[in-house]
Amino acid sequence: MNAQAAVTAKPSSVQRAMRFVLPVIVFAAGIAAWELVVRIKEIPPYVLPAPSVIVLTLIKDWAVLSQSLATTLLTTLEGFAAASIGGIALALLFNQSKWVEYSLFPYAVVLQVTPVIAIAPLLLIYLEQQTAVVVCAFIVAFFPVLSNTTLGLNSVDRNLSGLFQLYGASPPQTLRFLKLPAALPYILGGLRIAGGLSLIGAVVAEIAAGTAGAGSGLAYRIAESGYRLNIPRMFAALLLLSLAGIVIYGVLALVSHLVLRRWHESALGKES
């Protein structure tokens, strides 16, 4: 029994290390090859900047770029907050009344399937620029929260519902002690998707706004640098956007893990 456990434990720890080490090796090799090709072929930076040049640009332009990063992150955060609150609230409303769900759900789908890049210019006409950008982030991000929360609220154990009914639970009690906790894993899954999507929504709206001649977010920096053929700065801004996306995803995944670790299958080890 012990020997068997040791045999199964060993590859799993090696595997875990490999999951971390292998992507790092691939990344390092890719960067090295990139740097090498640019140097050997003497490619000019306005065609393809070397990684070292991108990092130097990032440091040199930090004052401008960090300002833009803060703007984009703020937009993302506002859009994400609006999407979370709006998505969960609408799902709760749908759960209370089938009629409301039947009346509104098709429009939520329409909003979801219409490409946001096509809506953004319209929003920029009717709304103030900062508001329009946040609304774009909201539109892209709110649907996964809505649909996941709805799924979660509808997945409540039928017997547990019966139990709450038997003990005369009021609707607010049922919501607080049964429906919300039961839906929590689904809600957190929706939020994890929404975090990345609100960044995308913010970037799309910034690009649309940027071409209209204003704005200072990272996406605007990318568009602006493109016009000026400042390619290293384009790459530096892109790098910051990627990092922001990774951090957002990581934070939400961590929150999800911490909240669910004591009881939900998704946060438990496979063998437990």
């Binding site: 038997l166 003990y167 005369g168 639970a169 002690f177 009881w263 939900h264």
Partner: protein, 271 residues
């Protein structure tokens, strides 16, 4: 049928009834008759089993008594605590599955009925701990349901049903999914609890052996729509224990109950 009715009527006049069903039927929305008409009288403090084939409506009958489901016709009377304001607190229900909330501790699961009824937290916790102690799980109050075995989860479910100190305990095939050894142990513990607490128990099962071992009366039901096929009184030396399980009287009763149950299965030979 008529004989059953008469004996119920006699019993009713002799002792107070905990539950009485009169001409209760249940039809599903698609018109299929699931139950009845069913007449059943359960005396206070009695332990009865509803025994029948799967789908005969015995769980439906239990849900109707618990008011989790409304009968299509007929009269349901359930004796309640006097002065208990909360509906349902006179009834404890144990489902087929443990039906625990996975997101909270065993203690909070057991405390749930009290929390919903507005009992203060400290008192609720004390009563939950007492209920857990009565099913032998005093040390597991802090554990989460996923950390327990199937039998222990069922005990938690039983503790939750007992925590409101109900007069009537409804149990819907609670031990069906457990292994035999665990089931025997839980059977004995349930009998001990019943003797010490003096509750009325209505126990739904499809096991002949379990029904004879546990109950004072075995009510055998027909296949759908469920009606009463036979009402067999199990009389033996109390308290029952392992020696009853191996006695000749026990196997006689099992044979008798099986014989009463046989017609319910005759139409289902193709299954």
């Amino acid at each position: 049928m008529s004989a059953v009715k008469t004996s119920s009527a006699v019993e009713a006049s002799l002792t107070a009834l905990a539950v009485s069903l009169r001409g209760v039927t249940k039809a599903y929305d698609n018109g299929v008759m699931a139950l009845g008409p069913l007449d059943l009288a359960v005396r206070k403090g009695e332990f009865i089993s509803l025994l029948g084939p799967s789908g005969c409506g015995k769980s439906t009958a239990l849900r109707i008594i618990a008011e989790l489901s409304a009968p299509s016709s007929g009269i349901v009377r359930v004796a309640r605590h006097e002065g208990e304001a909360q509906p349902g607190h006179g009834i404890g229900f144990v489902f087929q599955e443990p039906t625990l909330m996975p997101w909270t501790s065993v203690r909070e699961n057991v405390r749930l009925p009290l929390k919903l009824g507005g009992v203060p937290k400290a008192e609720g916790r004390a009563r939950a701990d007492a209920a857990l102690a009565s099913v032998g799980l005093a040390d597991f109050a802090e554990a989460y349901p996923r950390e327990l075995s199937g039998g222990m989860k069922m005990r938690v479910s039983l503790a939750r049903a007992l925590v409101t100190d109900p007069d009537i305990l409804l149990m819907d095939e609670p031990f069906a999914a457990l292994d035999e050894i665990t089931r025997f142990r839980l059977n004995n513990d349930l009998l001990a609890l019943w003797r010490s607490l003096g509750k009325t128990v209505i126990f739904v099962t499809h096991s002949v052996f379990e029904s004879v071992y546990l109950s004072q009366r075995v009510v055998v039901m027909t296949a759908r729509p469920g009606r009463i096929q036979a009402d067999i009184r199990i009389e033996t030396v109390e308290p029952r224990g392992e020696e009853f399980r191996t006695s000749a009287a026990y196997s006689d009763y099992c044979r008798k109950v099986s014989a009463a149950l046989a017609p319910s299965y005759s139409g289902q030979s193709t299954l």
